[in-house]
Every structure is written in structure tokens, then in C-alpha cells.
């Protein structure tokens, strides 16, 4: 009886290969069922996310990863070059890999938390379908415990690693919770969408979108369930806002000190956070000299994201140590018994 893990992810396979192996929710059940029907496979869990597809299996006797790889490629009708596309782990290596995946150490955005839920979901699906027994049940339970420990005892998930995330972090530093806060997005590009979405995910309730081309503002507003504002009237809304995100393609400053000065009394001098993610900049740096305005440009946000990534990377050794220690002290069939 042997524990094996076979998979491909964003580091080993380009998107056109990854999408070939990606599975829908319904497809996952079918795949697990078929995996179990394969010769010598005793237990199995299939994990499929946008960046990875992995098969965890307990196989009998002589069967191993080579057979499993052939089987998977046959299932997906994949005849391309397999060189470097798949990675495989056995016994303890497979257990350690699963722990890394559950802890977010193997993710594209180091330390991201979504993967933990995705692994849990994949395991539950297999458990409900009767595809797991002693080996994988113990292994996955262990991996969830390790994932939790890694996240609570290290800084692997601390700090925002994207420009949008850094904007949210700054807004929270000024306002605390973002529940009920009002946001205006000036410009209807991709960065505007991402940043507005990130703020919404943390509770921002009212999002307004303004753009020189009103149609684009309407499209983005519809997409993010916000409200489109004509570009000519955006200054009037400034009195009620908490966060302004500027990301237009304008070659000159769109937001000037006079705009903010005009509404300070009306705003009762409440803090206002302004995030300028445009190049050339949309917000005159002099706006940041106004007492209650906190102005950040793309360089500051990028620096924050880079620092957070660096801090997370520095945690990797500590995370590895936790995984080693946890696996050493547990008794896992087909891993260390």
C-alpha cells in the first residue's frame, strides 16, 4: 500500500495545459469515481482549482505514479509533452506536499487562504462519495490541522500582496472596519475594478463609478453593483465619500486641492483616503498636504505589496519546520508507520 500524489500547477504547466486538466464540480465526482475504478487504486481525492489539479491516491503493490500519470493523461486525452508538466510525491513527500498546499505555501499568491477551503471541499466530496478510508482520512485531517497551525503561528498570510489588497489595508488603517463606507472610482479600467471589488469584499457598501466615457462607467458600475456618476458631477459627491480611487488615463491631474478644500467643512473634516493608481498620476500630490487626506500613489502600494511578499517568503522556513515537526509526531498510515 502506497500513498502517492500526482499533479500539475501554475509553476509546472502553462495555462493551456492546466485548463485541459481542470475539472468542474460535477467533473470532480466523476473523476474520483473513475480513479477508484482504476486497477490497484484503494482511496482517492481529486483537487482542482484554477491553478492546480492534483490527485491523491492510495495504491496497491506495484502500481505507482507512472501508472497513475498514464491513466490521468488517457482520461484527459492529453498527448502533448509531459516533460516537467507533472510533479509527483510519494509517502512522506506526498503528505508534506499536501500540508504545503493547505497552508497556502504552494499557491501563486503565497499564503492565500482560499486554497484551504478548496482542499477541504475536495476532501469532503471524496469522503461523502466513500472514496477515502483510513489513510487519506488521517492524512487530510492532519493537513488541515497543520494548515491552521501554520497560519496562526507564522506571518505567512500577513500583509497585502497586491495593489488592490494594499489599498484595502490602507483604508482599514484609516477607518478600521470598512462596513458602510463610501467609495468612488474615477476611471473604469481593470485596476479600478479590482480595487473596488477588494474594498467591497471588506464591507464597503456604496461604490460610485465615474468615467469620461459614461458608458464604460455604467458597465463597470453594473458589474460591481455600484452606481455610475457623470464625470461632470463627481466633485459634488466628494463630500460624502471615504475612499477615492483614481485610475484614469488622463495626462493631467484630475483631482486638485481645490476640489477637496471646497468640501472640507461639509465633510466635517472627516478622514479621506485617496488612492492614485494611475500613471501619469491623477491626483495632485498637494492634495495629500490637506490635514485629513491620506494620499497614496501606485509606488507606495507596490512597495507595500512587495514588502508583504518578502515578509511571507521569510516565513517559509518556519512553515517547513512546523510541517516536519507535525508529521514527525503523528502516526500516518503509508507515510511514517
Amino acid at each position: 500500500m502506497q500513498l502517492v500524489c500526482l499533479g500539475l500547477n501554475h509553476e509546472t504547466a502553462p495555462v493551456e495545459v492546466r485548463e485541459r486538466f481542470a475539472l468542474t464540480e460535477a467533473g470532480l465526482d466523476r473523476e474520483t469515481e473513475m480513479l477508484l475504478s482504476a486497477e490497484d487504486v484503494l482511496e482517492g481525492v481529486v483537487l482542482s482549482t484554477c491553478n492546480r489539479t492534483e490527485y491523491y491516491a492510495v495504491v496497491n503493490g506495484g502500481s505507482g505514479v507512472a501508472e497513475l500519470e498514464d491513466w490521468i493523461c488517457a482520461q484527459r486525452n492529453f498527448s502533448g509533452s509531459r516533460e516537467g508538466v507533472f510533479y509527483h510525491h510519494e509517502a512522506r513527500g506526498a503528505a508534506e506536499h499536501l500540508c504545503r498546499v493547505a497552508s497556502g505555501m504552494n499557491s501563486m499568491v503565497l499564503g492565500e487562504t482560499e486554497i484551504f477551503g478548496q482542499v477541504k471541499k475536495a476532501y469532503k466530496r471524496s469522503l461523502d462519495g466513500g472514496a477515502t478510508k483510513t489513510v487519506l482520512n488521517k492524512l487530510f485531517q492532519k493537513a488541515f490541522g497543520v494548515g491552521k497551525r501554520v497560519r496562526t503561528h507564522t506571518a505567512i498570510q500577513e500583509g497585502a500582496t497586491s495593489v488592490a489588497g494594499a489599498s484595502v489595508e490602507l483604508a482599514e488603517k484609516v477607518f478600521g472596519k470598512l462596513q458602510g463606507s463610501s467609495v468612488m472610482v474615477i476611471g473604469a479600467g481593470e485596476m479600478s475594478r479590482k480595487t473596488a471589488r477588494a474594498l467591497q469584499s471588506r464591507g464597503a457598501s456604496s461604490v460610485m463609478v465615474t468615467n469620461r466615457s459614461f458608458d464604460k462607467a455604467v458597465d463597470l458600475a453594473e458589474e460591481i453593483e455600484g452606481r455610475a456618476i457623470p464625470f461632470q458631477g463627481w466633485e459634488e459627491e466628494l463630500a460624502h465619500l471615504d475612499v477615492v480611487i483614481a485610475a484614469t488615463g488622463a495626462p493631467h491631474f484630475v483631482v486638485k486641492p481645490a476640489h477637496v478644500e471646497a468640501v472640507r467643512r461639509k465633510r466635517k473634516f472627516r478622514p479621506l483616503i485617496m488612492v492614485d493608481i494611475a500613471v501619469p498620476r491623477d491626483i495632485d500630490p498637494k492634495v495629500g498636504e490637506i490635514d485629513e487626506v491620506y494620499l497614496y500613489d501606485i509606488d507606495t502600494l507596490q512597495e507595500m505589496a512587495d514588502e508583504a511578499r518578502k515578509r511571507r517568503e521569510e516565513q517559509l522556513l518556519l512553515c517547513e519546520e512546523i510541517i516536519r515537526e507535525e508529521i514527525d509526531k503523528s502516526i500516518l498510515p503509508a507515510v511514517n508507520d
Binding site: K173, V174, R270
Partner: protein, 292 residues
């Protein structure tokens, strides 16, 4: 028999405290009141050491997950020691212990700690303890300067309840106003870091948000102002109630705080202006009262 043993225990503890903290011979002046005096001073020393621990451990924990908790734990212990010391002075005087510089500083430090312990948990103002502890330490060190606590204090024969209320509420209000000033200092630090984009490090991470700090500053100052109002009213009702220079200064302070808070709550003002107002008013009024 038991009293004799307790007295022996007191003397032993006094010796330990003196040998630990006051090895220098000129500090022996504190012994004037006998072992009971030594015990009382001992509590002030313990409260000061605990407040130092609160500040130091809180600052060290800033790199950790919960900076506020480390300071909070030590400040709770400091608060208990302050209570014991105030109990000692209160028993000596037979009235509210606000008769000399040492007692006023100790009472103020106690009031500041009390408001921190209440506010720190209510507003979840982690790090407030780290900023509060130094002020508590300074006040208690002033109290510990030989001569700050009057020796040979006579027990009061009669007590004017309005005078007692006035003194207690006034110093209590200053505890709250001091805490508002401490929150103001925190605001300066956070605001400076956010404005200059120095965003990394435990200091910024452990701080509450700008909005929360502004709210806390204003609300704590409002509580202090309300208590000060009650203190002034009690002062006017004192038996020997003449409108003294002391009461005049207190009233001017009251008016200035009222104007500042009125502007903040009605018209609004930038957080930095509120922080400047609260810290400068507190420092100014403290100097004026010290002169009086």
C-alpha cells in the same frame, strides 16, 4: 500575638523593599513614618515597577500578535498596587488623599490607569497601554521624590463632603483628560507615519485606526470634561466656598475644553487639530495647577 507577627512581617517587607530599590543612605528620610510609611511607599514603588513593566513588555510585544494584552496585564497589577498605596494615604489622612504633591500625583496616576483599563478594553485600543505607562511612571516617580509625601500627617477631625468630592472628581477628570492627551500623542505618531508613508513595523500595525483614535480622543475628553464639570460644581458648594484663583483656573480650563469639544462635535475639525488641542490644553493646565 497575630498583630505582633504581622508587624514583624511588615518590617521584613520594608527591609526587602528598601534594600532592593533604595540602597542609597539619603533616601532613608522616607522612614520617618515608621514601617507603615515604608509599606505605603513600597506600594508606590511596586506600582511604578509594574507600570515600567507594562510599558517595556508592551513595547516588546509590538512585534507580536497582541501588543495591547502585555501592557494591559501589567497595568492591572499596577492599578492594584496604586489602590493599596492610596488606601495607605487615605487611612493616614482620614479623608481623600489629595493633601500633598505625592498624593495628587499618585491619585492622578491611578485615575489615568483606571481610564486606560476601562477605555483600552472598550475601544480595543491596543498600544494605548504602551503610551499610557510612561506618563503613569513619570507621575509616580514625582510622587516618590523624597518630600512629595508629607510625613507626620494628622488625621482629619472633620470632613467637608463637598471639598472631598471636588478634589476627587477634579483629579479623576484629569486622569481622563490625561488619557485623551495620550491618545492624542498616539494620533500624532500614527498620522505622521501614514502621511509620510512609513507603513511597516509593529508600531503602525498595532495601532488602532485613525478614525477610532479620533473617536476615542473626543469621547475620553468628553468624559473627563463631564467629571470636571461635576468637580467644579462640588467646588462651588464647598463650605469655605470662595471663588478662589484655583477655581478660576479650573473654570477657564473647563471653558477651553468645552470650546474645543464643542467645535469638534458641532463643526468638526481635523484629527490633528483635536490632538494638538487636547495635548496642549492638558500640559498647559497641568503647569498652571502645579504653579498654584
Amino acid at each position: 500575638m497575630l498583630a505582633k507577627e504581622l508587624s514583624g512581617l511588615n518590617e521584613m517587607m520594608e527591609e526587602v523593599i528598601y534594600s532592593l530599590f533604595f540602597p542609597h543612605p539619603h533616601l532613608k528620610g522616607w522612614r520617618l513614618g515608621g514601617s507603615y510609611m515604608g509599606m505605603g511607599i513600597g506600594w508606590v514603588v511596586i506600582a511604578t515597577v509594574l507600570a515600567v513593566a507594562g510599558g517595556v513588555f508592551g513595547a516588546l510585544a509590538m512585534r507580536g500578535e497582541k501588543p495591547g494584552r502585555a501592557a494591559f496585564f501589567w497595568m492591572v497589577l499596577a492599578f492594584v498596587a496604586q489602590l493599596m498605596a492610596l488606601g495607605w494615604r487615605g487611612e493616614l489622612r482620614g479623608q481623600c488623599p489629595l493633601g500633598d504633591l505625592g498624593e495628587i500625583c499618585l491619585f492622578l496616576a491611578w485615575s489615568l490607569t483606571l481610564f486606560y483599563l476601562v477605555t483600552g478594553t472598550t475601544y480595543r485600543l491596543s498600544l494605548l497601554g504602551v503610551f499610557t505607562a510612561p506618563l503613569v511612571v513619570i507621575l509616580q516617580v514625582i510622587a516618590l521624590i523624597p518630600g512629595s509625601f508629607a510625613s507626620g500627617v494628622a488625621k482629619a477631625e472633620s470632613v467637608d463632603p463637598w471639598r472631598e468630592t471636588h478634589a476627587a472628581l477634579s483629579v479623576l477628570s484629569y486622569g481622563a483628560l490625561a488619557l485623551a492627551a495620550v491618545a492624542g500623542v498616539m494620533f500624532f505618531v500614527l498620522n505622521g507615519r501614514l502621511k509620510s508613508r512609513k507603513l511597516s513595523g509593529g508600531l503602525v500595525q498595532g495601532m488602532p485606526s485613525v478614525q477610532r483614535l479620533v473617536e476615542a480622543m473626543a469621547r475620553i475628553a468628553l468624559v473627563g470634561w463631564i467629571v470636571l464639570t461635576a468637580g467644579i460644581v462640588a467646588g462651588l458648594l464647598m463650605k469655605s466656598g470662595s471663588f478662589s484663583i484655583h477655581l478660576l483656573v479650573a473654570t477657564i480650563t473647563w471653558v477651553l475644553y468645552a470650546v474645543l469639544l464643542g467645535i469638534h462635535f458641532v463643526r468638526g475639525m481635523p484629527g490633528r487639530h483635536l490632538a494638538i488641542g487636547l495635548t496642549s490644553l492638558f500640559i498647559l493646565s497641568l503647569f498652571v495647577f502645579a504653579k498654584l
